[in-house]
Symmetry: C2
């Protein structure tokens, strides 16, 4: 029977049943290593000059080169293993990760870390186009979205399992964003691409906007309210807030049936289950430092004696709390976080819970210079008056693989 979960069983095309899955064309999106990045950044420099330049900035040329070769090693192995299996491949950097290339492929493969995987995912709108990630530097990054780290070494085994149908499909929920208001059709800024330019060029990314801004001069130009479903889906999270980190963000939030909640904060984050181990996790996780202090207060207040008050106990409680923050990548609800929720005065407990679940979220911008950012990559303008509708739809899920015979199955709170 089909490897898809029940909710997809009806719609899973026969050629996508694991036993029948035989991709002919694979597009390999590979990461630009830091070494390659620095080379592109300073084309005028010789190797020795680059080494000197990096040393002056406190970076070690040799370490960069070392990790560059580890990455290239995995990239080349992945490419040759697929080729050896009679599969046509194309290897591209993000600059050439285009819709024609994506349409051409039966499956997308990434060699890099989670960043590369997220970039690949954001452009795959077809639920029938699978995405598989190889972690090209397990020594440095966990690569939670990629295949287990052992497959970075044993690429061949992974590809064999894939081609022999020894896997099940996993459908990671994603967030669909609909913008409502004026000036919602501006081209987004790619925050990663920006980093690949000299700093003094980064503002040029915004030029297309500067050209089309005439209609902004009066936000009251009386044009009817437009709607736009964004051409990308969020696999990790949607961040909404002032572009500039140090500014307070003002917004009106709505969760499912509750509407019009005014908030001041350092940004709002709506996360998927996949994203619940990422940024959202790092914002909400409790540290052992805090837990230790909390337990001390509880003891003072109650005189209650914990038998094992040692570090082990603190760690256990902390882990149990943090584990609670992680949700199943396949569930169709969002975890939201109101970051650094502003309470007008210390000691006053806030009315809205800064963390919770919702099936539908609406955000109205009260910001001056805000952005809506998908997976830390694509940044859309989101200024005063604009509304964003965030939803999860089954048909937007990302098709990924879980190879069988690995002990990577986890159970989650729903």
């Amino acid at each position: 029977m089909c490897g898809c979960k029940r909710r997809y069983a009806m719609t899973c095309p026969p050629q996508l049943e694991p036993a029948n899955f035989k991709p002919q064309k694979v597009l390999i999106l590979t990461k630009l290593s830091r070494y390659e990045f620095e080379k592109r950044r300073h084309p005028e420099l010789t190797e020795r000059q680059l080494e000197k330049c990096l040393r002056m900035r406190g970076s070690d040329y040799n370490i960069l080169l070392y990790h560059h070769y580890i990455h290239k090693g995995v990239e080349n192995t992945v490419n040759s293993v697929f080729t050896a299996a009679g599969i046509e491949t194309r290897v591209v950097y993000r600059f050439d990760y285009s819709d024609p290339n994506i349409e051409w492929a039966d499956a997308i493969v990434t060699t890099g870390g989670d960043g590369t995987y997220l970039l690949a995912a954001s452009r795959i709108l077809d639920r029938n186009k699978p995405l598989i990630g190889f972690n090209s530097d397990p020594t440095r990054s966990k690569g939670q979205l990629c295949l287990p780290q052992k497959y970075s070494v044993d690429v061949k085994e992974a590809v064999e399992k894939l081609l022999k149908g020894k896997f099940r499909w996993t459908f990671r929920s994603r967030i669909r964003v609909t913008l409502i208001g004026e000036n919602i059709f501006k081209p987004p800024v790619e925050l990663h691409d920006q980093q690949l330019r000299y700093h003094e060029y980064r503002y040029l990314d915004l030029e297309p906007q500067l050209h089309t801004l005439q209609k902004d001069i009066s936000p009251c130009s009386g044009i009817g309210v437009a709607r736009r479903v964004l051409p990308v889906l969020a696999l990790n999270e949607v961040f909404i807030g002032e572009c500039v980190s140090a500014r307070v963000s003002y917004m009106e939030l709505g969760f499912d049936d509750v509407k019009g909640i005014k908030q001041k904060c350092s940004g709002f984050i709506a996360s998927t289950g996949t994203g619940s181990t990422s940024w959202t996790y790092n914002i909400n996780k409790l540290t052992e430092q805090n837990m230790e202090e909390i337990l001390t207060i509880v003891k003072e207040e109650t005189g209650f004696k914990i038998q094992d008050t040692d570090q082990y106990f603190v760690s256990k409680i902390t882990e149990k709390f943090n584990q609670m923050l992680i949700t199943d990548p396949e569930v169709s609800k969002m975890v939201y976080t109101i970051r650094d929720q502003l309470v007008s005065s210390p000691m006053r407990s806030e009315c809205v819970k800064p963390r919770g679940f919702a099936k539908t979220i609406s955000v109205k911008s009260r910001c001056f210079d805000a952005s809506l950012v998908i997976d830390g990559g694509l940044s859309f303008t989101f200024n005063d008056g604009t509304r964003a509708l965030l939803e999860i739809h089954d048909e937007d899920a990302l098709r990924t693989v879980t190879l069988l015979g690995d002990s990577t199955e986890v159970s989650f709170k729903h």
Copy 2:
């Protein structure tokens, strides 16, 4: 005897002893109300058009006007009370808050909220120039840096106490920032001023930079390493991180004697005691929501029975924890926060405590497009290789007043 605390007693000039304090010239820095802001933003619109424009963005013209009048009321009262006392005044907006005006005055007074107070403070480098804040809209903002709210109504009483020496000086510690590296002399961007422009103009703020960027093209231009003590002092906090909110920040941190701690996070914040009730508080505060869940886990794990498990108990523990985060504005150490500290994998406890105290902090940027922001206002470029040294010096403290006969004295953990 002198109203200064001991550490200042030796250096307190006689004319600044509360009994002798008789300012002749007072500079009043007043806030630009949202109504005035919108008027400036849309000079082409009539009142009726503005009303329509605001309504289209979901803002209420009448409420804006209402708060504008409250603000103007306080501003005018403050001005006339000082004038009536035979003191010369000048009322300015932030655009005219210039060094000549500041030098001209014996004391600076603000009418607005904490934002206006912070802006005023940032430019006062002379420890003998007092700053006094009137909260011009107590109905909306707490104004923790301003005089107690009752003085927004009874301005006269406040000025009388001030001129009769019925106050003590309070010296709020501030953070001195020294930048070390290349390209540290770029003009900063004023984030508040930016908001007072049309969006399409905001990039013009950066033009001076774009002109002087020639030397950036190769960060390796071999110029010797320069030092620069920034011309502003931080009263609340110094934020360091990627300009763009949604980007991860990389940096190397040093606290007192511990050096070279590599971190990934959503920015680093060094706060004063004054700032410990502000952004730093909102980042670190524990919510009752979390406390409830923690106590539930503790009970599950220990089977321990709390007598009053009700909301009251949760609130009490939460408040006690949060109170712990607040430190004395006069102490000469910083509270630092590593925001959203990135842990490479869930469940793994981080090595560096994300929150703590330090007398000296050094930060080395590993960022691509980062800024160092003083009190959420002045933003300095702080890119890869640049170092910042953060220190608190007694001579940098801000001279403010605590009027006597108010029950505003609080005690703090040191």
